[in-house]
C-alpha cells in the first residue's frame, strides 16, 4: 500500500467511527492528528464530504484552532508555556535558551526532525512554573540548567 493509501484508510476508518456524533468535526480532527501527528490537507476532502461541509469550512476550522496543524511535526513536539505565571518565574529567559539550544523559533522543526517547538498559554502547572509539555508528559520548574537533560530523556522515550 502506498503512504497516501495508508493515510486514506486511516482517515476513512476514523470518519466511519465518529461521523455520527453530534458536532463530529473536532473529534475527527483530533483522532486524525492523534494518529498521524497532523491533519494532512489530503484528508480534508473526505472529512468535508462525510460531514456535508465545504472544504473551505473544514480548512477554516483547522486554521482557527492553534492545536491543529497541517504539516508533519518533528518526532516530538515541545509545548513551551509563555503565560504570566511562567513569565513570573523566568519563563522569558528560558524561552531564549530553548530557542537557541534547538536552533529554531516557534512553529518550526529542528533540521534533524527530532523536535518541533510550539508556544502554549498555560498548562495548569503554574504552581511549578516555568512549565512545558512534551507529548503527554508535563515538566515543571524547567530551567536553562535542566532543559537539555529533559529533552535527552524525552528522546529516549520516543
Amino acid at each position: 500500500m502506498t503512504e497516501l493509501n495508508a493515510m486514506e484508510t486511516i482517515v476513512q476508518d476514523i470518519i466511519a467511527a465518529l461521523k455520527d456524533k453530534p458536532g463530529a468535526l473536532l473529534p475527527i480532527l483530533h483522532a486524525v492528528q492523534d494518529k498521524l501527528g497532523y491533519v494532512p490537507s489530503e484528508s480534508v476532502p473526505a472529512i468535508a464530504k462525510a460531514l456535508n461541509l465545504s472544504r473551505a469550512e473544514v480548512h477554516g476550522v483547522i486554521s482557527f484552532y492553534h492545536y491543529f496543524r497541517d504539516t508533519a511535526p518533528g518526532k516530538q513536539t515541545i509545548h513551551l508555556c509563555r503565560a504570566e505565571s511562567c513569565q513570573a518565574m523566568g519563563g522569558k529567559k528560558l524561552e531564549v535558551h530553548v530557542k537557541s539550544t534547538l536552533g529554531i523559533d516557534y512553529h518550526e522543526t529542528t533540521a534533524d526532525g527530532k523536535f518541533s517547538l510550539e508556544p502554549v498559554y498555560c498548562l495548569g502547572n503554574c504552581a511549578c512554573s516555568p512549565a512545558m509539555q512534551i507529548g503527554h508528559e508535563i515538566y515543571g520548574r524547567v530551567s536553562a540548567d535542566n532543559f537539555e537533560s529533559i529533552i535527552t530523556q524525552a528522546e529516549d522515550i520516543a
Partner: protein, 518 residues
C-alpha cells in the same frame, strides 16, 4: 498492620518527579522485603512540598516532602513506613498549617482518596448529594442551589441557581449540561485538580444538574492541554456507567443522564460559553451575540446550562449538607468558599480553598509565604489574563466579588499570580495585548485590529518613542476595546494593560501621575 503509602498522581506532582518517586519507593520496598500498598492519591495542593509522600499510621496520615528519588533510601532507613523521624518529615498531614487553616468544601476529598476509585469516593461521602437530589422535585433541587448563594466560578460570578431555573422553565425535548473545563487562565489549576484528583465529584454535580433541569446529555469541554485530566475523567465516567451512576436508569430512579468528554484545541476564546458551544458543534469558535441566552437557546439551539468545573463540583456538597450550610461561609454577596490558586513568584504555591472575605495580603503572605525569590512582591495579577494587576497599595482588598469590582479588579476564577520587583509592567502590558491579538476570535474590529495596534504601540512605548503621543494613543485603544467588544477577551484586556500603566507609570517611562490618570 499492613503498610499504606500515598504518592500523588496529580500532573503537577508528576511534573516534578512523583512517578519516579513512586517507582523508587516500590522498588526499595521490594528490595527490603517490606510489603506495601502504594496508592496514587490526588494532590493536597501543597505544591511546594510535592512530591509529598504520605504514610498511614495509627495516629493518621503522616507526610514527608518534598521527596526526591535520592531521598528514598534514607526514608526507608528512617523507618518512614511507620512514621519515623526524617529531615523531610512534615508531621500529620491534617495538621500542616497551610491545610489546617483552609475551609475545604469543594476540595473536601482532594488528595485524600484514590481519584478513580468509586469505592473510595462513596466511602468519603460521595454520591450523598445525588441521593438527596433523587428524593427532591426538580424545582427543589434548583432552590437548594439558589439558596446556597453559589455564583459561577468561571469568572462572571452569575448566580448558578438563576441560570438553572431558566433552563428548567424553558420547555424542550432536549436540553444539555455543559461543563466548561477550558480553564485557560494563566495561574489557574483548580479545575484541573478537581478533574484529576476527584473526577467523580464533577460527574455527580453534572448528574444533579441534569436531573434538576431535565437534561439527559452532558458534555465536558476539556482543554487539550490537560491529558491527565482527560484520562482520569474517562476512567471515572466508565466506572460511573458500570455502577449505574450514569446512563439510563440512574440508581433505579428512572432518570437518564449521559456524559461525554470533548476536547478543545488550544483556543483561549473557546472558554467563552458561546464560543465553546460553536466549538462543540464542530465549528470555528466565533463568539455568538446574546441574546438569545444559552439557557434558552444554547447548544444545537437547545436550552443549555453552561457551568464551570468548580461551580458544578460544588453542587454535591450543597445537596448533601444543604444550601444554608454552604451559604453560611463567605461575606456580602459572595457566599461559600473560593478555591484560590497561588502561582507565579510565591514561596508556597498551591491550592487554598477558603471562605470569601480574607484579604489578598493574608493570602500572599500567610499562605503564600511571600515571593519565591525573596524579593519584594511588586504586583499581583488576579483573575487570569483579563484581570488587573494589583499593586501593594491594594493588597488589603478582601477576596469578595464586589470589593474587587470596586477597585476595577476581578477575582475571576481565583488565579493569583505574583511578580517580584524584577518584573517590567510595560513588558507585561505588551504581552497582554499580544495575547489578545493571538486569541481574538476575529468577530469585532476593535479586538482584532486594536489589540495588534496595541502591542505595536507598546513596542513604541517600551522603546521610549514619542511617549506624549503614544501613551494617550494606548488609552484610546483601551477605551475602544472596553466599549466596542462583544466579549470579555477584547472588553477586558484593558484591565491588565491600564492597571499596569496607572499603577506603574515609571515602567512606561512616565513619572507624572497626573498625566497618566484615567
Amino acid at each position: 498492620m499492613s503498610i499504606t503509602i500515598y504518592v500523588p498522581c496529580d500532573s503537577t506532582a508528576v511534573s516534578i518527579g512523583a512517578d519516579r518517586v513512586a517507582k523508587a519507593i516500590y522498588q526499595e520496598a521490594q528490595k527490603r522485603n517490606i510489603t506495601i500498598q502504594l496508592i496514587r492519591n490526588g494532590s493536597r495542593g501543597l505544591y511546594w512540598l510535592e512530591p509529598m509522600v504520605e504514610v498511614l499510621t495509627a495516629e493518621g496520615r503522616k507526610a514527608y516532602g518534598p521527596v526526591q528519588v535520592s531521598d528514598v533510601t534514607s526514608l526507608f532507613d528512617a523507618n518512614f513506613v511507620n512514621g519515623g523521624e526524617h529531615p523531610l518529615y512534615l508531621g500529620l498531614t491534617e495538621e500542616i498549617e497551610y491545610l489546617k487553616k483552609q475551609q475545604r468544601l469543594t476540595f473536601a476529598r482532594i488528595g485524600i482518596t484514590d481519584p478513580i476509585s468509586l469505592e473510595d469516593y462513596i466511602s468519603h461521602e460521595g454520591y450523598q448529594g445525588l441521593s438527596n437530589a433523587l428524593k427532591l422535585s426538580q424545582a427543589d433541587i434548583v432552590k437548594a442551589v439558589t439558596d446556597s448563594g453559589l455564583r459561577g466560578r468561571g469568572g462572571a460570578a452569575f448566580p448558578t441557581g438563576i441560570k438553572w431555573n431558566t433552563v428548567l422553565n424553558t420547555p424542550s425535548e432536549q436540553k444539555y449540561i455543559i461543563c466548561n473545563a477550558d480553564e485557560g487562565d494563566s495561574g489557574t489549576f483548580s479545575d484541573r485538580m478537581v478533574m484529576e484528583s476527584d473526577p467523580f465529584v464533577l460527574i455527580e454535580g453534572m448528574t444533579i444538574a441534569g436531573i434538576a433541569v431535565g437534561a439527559t446529555q452532558g458534555y465536558i469541554y476539556l482543554r487539550v492541554e490537560y491529558p491527565h485530566a482527560h484520562k482520569a475523567l474517562n476512567a471515572a465516567i466508565e466506572k460511573a456507567y458500570a455502577s449505574g451512576y450514569l446512563g439510563d436508569n440512574i440508581q433505579g430512579s428512572g432518570k437518564t443522564f449521559n456524559l461525554e468528554v470533548r476536547l478543545g484545541a488550544g483556543a483561549y476564546v473557546c472558554g467563552e460559553e458561546t464560543s465553546l458551544m460553536e466549538s462543540l458543534e464542530g465549528k470555528r469558535g466565533l463568539v455568538r451575540f446574546k441574546p438569545p441566552l444559552p439557557a434558552i437557546s444554547g447548544l444545537f439551539g437547545k436550552p443549555t446550562v453552561v457551568n464551570n468545573v468548580i461551580s458544578l463540583a460544588s453542587v454535591p456538597i450543597i445537596l448533601d449538607k444543604g444550601g444554608d450550610y454552604y451559604r453560611d461561609f463567605g461575606m456580602g454577596r459572595s457566599r461559600g468558599t473560593l478555591p484560590l490558586q497561588l502561582a507565579g513568584n510565591l514561596k508556597h504555591t498551591g491550592l487554598v480553598e477558603v471562605a470569601f472575605g480574607m484579604t489578598l495580603r493574608e493570602l500572599l503572605y500567610d499562605f503564600g509565604g511571600g515571593s519565591a525569590t525573596g524579593r519584594p512582591i511588586k504586583a499581583v495579577q488576579v483573575g487570569g489574563p483579563l484581570g488587573s494587576y494589583l499593586p501593594e497599595s491594594q493588597f488589603d482588598t478582601p477576596l469578595d466579588y464586589e470589593a474587587f469590582a470596586a477597585n476595577w479588579t476581578v477575582l475571576g476564577h481565583g488565579g493569583v499570580v505574583a511578580f517580584d520587583d524584577t518584573a517590567n509592567m510595560a513588558e507585561l502590558a505588551r504581552y497582554n495585548m499580544e495575547f489578545c491579538a493571538a486569541e481574538s476570535c476575529g468577530k469585532c474590529t476593535p479586538c482584532r485590529i486594536g489589540s495588534t495596534r496595541g502591542y505595536e504601540v507598546m513596542d513604541e512605548i517600551i522603546a521610549g518613542h514619542a511617549l506624549d503621543k503614544n501613551i494617550p494613543l494606548l488609552r484610546d485603544l483601551c477605551n475602544t476595546l472596553l466599549n466596542g467588544s462583544l466579549c470579555a477577551l477584547g472588553g477586558m484586556t484593558p484591565y491588565p494593560v491600564l492597571s499596569a500603566l496607572n499603577h506603574f507609570p515609571k515602567d512606561f517611562g512616565v513619572d507624572d501621575q497626573a498625566n497618566t490618570a484615567v
